[in-house]
């Protein structure tokens, strides 16, 4: 059951992700990206990470993608020519790079599988409490407090920076 779910969701996630790249209409790309995010969220659910799954939908699908759509519609972006067609040489360059990346990914996964490395943060998957809002919140505010606070300061800086940049002279 879980395996079937994983395969279906993984195919959906990769299929929509490919669609993001191959669509010429930016609006369709954005919609496919929503599909990718939704299937990723469902994948998190199969991993017992309910909180992350919900947050994935709230933040990415619910807020960020709405802004994307808003910008696409407001600017009424024309159907773009793919960059590859404008610069033929780039297309030929892209193929070896993509090949190298795929080879690298396979190499890493293969060595990981061979060495049977145990992850640094081992998680007891039989524990029902893993992935609940409580456990995520608890570890964020105890074990990972410093990275959490540093990240929030970083985001605050980004917000202030955006305000400064967006503000016109004399406002």
């Amino acid at each position: 059951m879980e395996k079937v779910l994983f395969i279906v969701l993984a195919v959906l996630a990769i299929g929509t992700a490919l669609n993001v790249i191959f669509q010429r209409n930016p609006l369709y790309s954005a919609l496919s990206l929503i599909g990718t995010l939704a299937s990723l969220s469902a994948l998190y659910l199969t991993l017992h990470a309910q909180f992350i799954a919900a947050i994935q939908i709230v933040v990415y699908a619910g807020a960020i993608m709405v802004l994307f759509l808003f910008v696409i519609m407001l600017l009424n972006v024309p159907k773009t020519q793919p960059v590859v067609e404008k610069h033929k040489a780039l297309g030929f360059l892209a193929i070896p790079f993509a090949g190298a990346m795929i080879a690298e990914a396979f190499y890493v996964l293969k060595t990981l599988a061979d060495k049977k490395i145990t992850p640094a943060f081992a998680i007891d998957t039989t524990d029902r409490a893993v992935g609940t809002t409580w456990s995520v919140g608890y570890s964020l505010f105890t074990q990972y407090l410093l990275p959490f606070e540093v990240t929030s300061v970083l985001i605050l800086m980004a917000v202030v920076g955006a305000m400064v940049l967006a503000r016109r002279e004399g406002d």
Partner: protein
Amino acid sequence: MTTAVLLEWVIKSAIILFVLVTAVAYLTFLERKVMSWIQLRIGPNRVGPWGLLQPLADGVKMIFKEDIIPTEANRWLYVIAPAISLIPALMTFIVIPYGSVVHVPILDRDVALRVTSMNIGLLYIFALTSLGVYGLVLAGWASNNKYSLLGGLRSSAQMISYELAFGISIVSVLLYTGTLDLSVIVGQQSGRFGVLGWNFFKVPLFLVFIVYYIASLAECNRTPFDLPEAESELVAGYHTEYSSMKFVMFQMAEYINLITASSIAVTLFFGGYIGPKVNYYPWLGLVYFALKVLVLILLAMWIRFTLPRFRYDQLMRFGWKFLLPAAIVNVIITATVVLFWPPQHP
């Protein structure tokens, strides 16, 4: 997971679907009646006794209307947009508890009067309400009509602005109750003090309710926040081009969103299905729940027919400069109260 449990879910979902659709039909009728009472008119009274069959006549009329798809519209998105706005609206209702556990004689076992209870209940609702906007935005874009597009743009801007206040006011409730599970939140509001046990009467949460209610009106696109379909400037906003059953689907989504927002408010602030004697007669919970929801819906209608629509800049200023700071201040107050006087839940 046995077949019986699965069947129970299917049956409950089907009942909810049926009840919601019927409720929507009669809400349209109620809305017109309330509007006429407020405006000192009689309102629909021709079809059936007291006009009670009006929704049926409306339904038949809408089904037989010609279903028009504009030539220049993006067909695929145009057709799918009403469904996108309707489905999240319907899905939200599965986590709302509308009664405690009852004994069903035919099945000869106890059945909880809710489809499911999950430990991310509140977040689930929040996630789905944030998805509802896509239906409106896509409808506006796919119609290929300037009024529709403007309506869609407005709805996306409005949703993003008011979702923040909506979410942050829910954070206050979460701080106070300490759980995201709606059934547990309702359970906490029962107790010896009756009505005074409701979250609405707890010290910090009264102000939270006001922010929540305003934000939820904006999320439902109700007047005074109905800018996405402001008829005096945008014809009908995002659903200008829609006709027949596709138009009905938008209307249904809007009313179901209103029912859901009221149900969540009842669950979070007004004790859900809790009322006198509900421990002895669990079926009474359904009645209390329905009555409380109806009161909140009537409040929304009263607001709709009393207040004029905001101007767009007023809407944005109100959302960002008043409602959002108010919600944040509420969180600080609630956090302080919870820190110094931890709530004793029954």
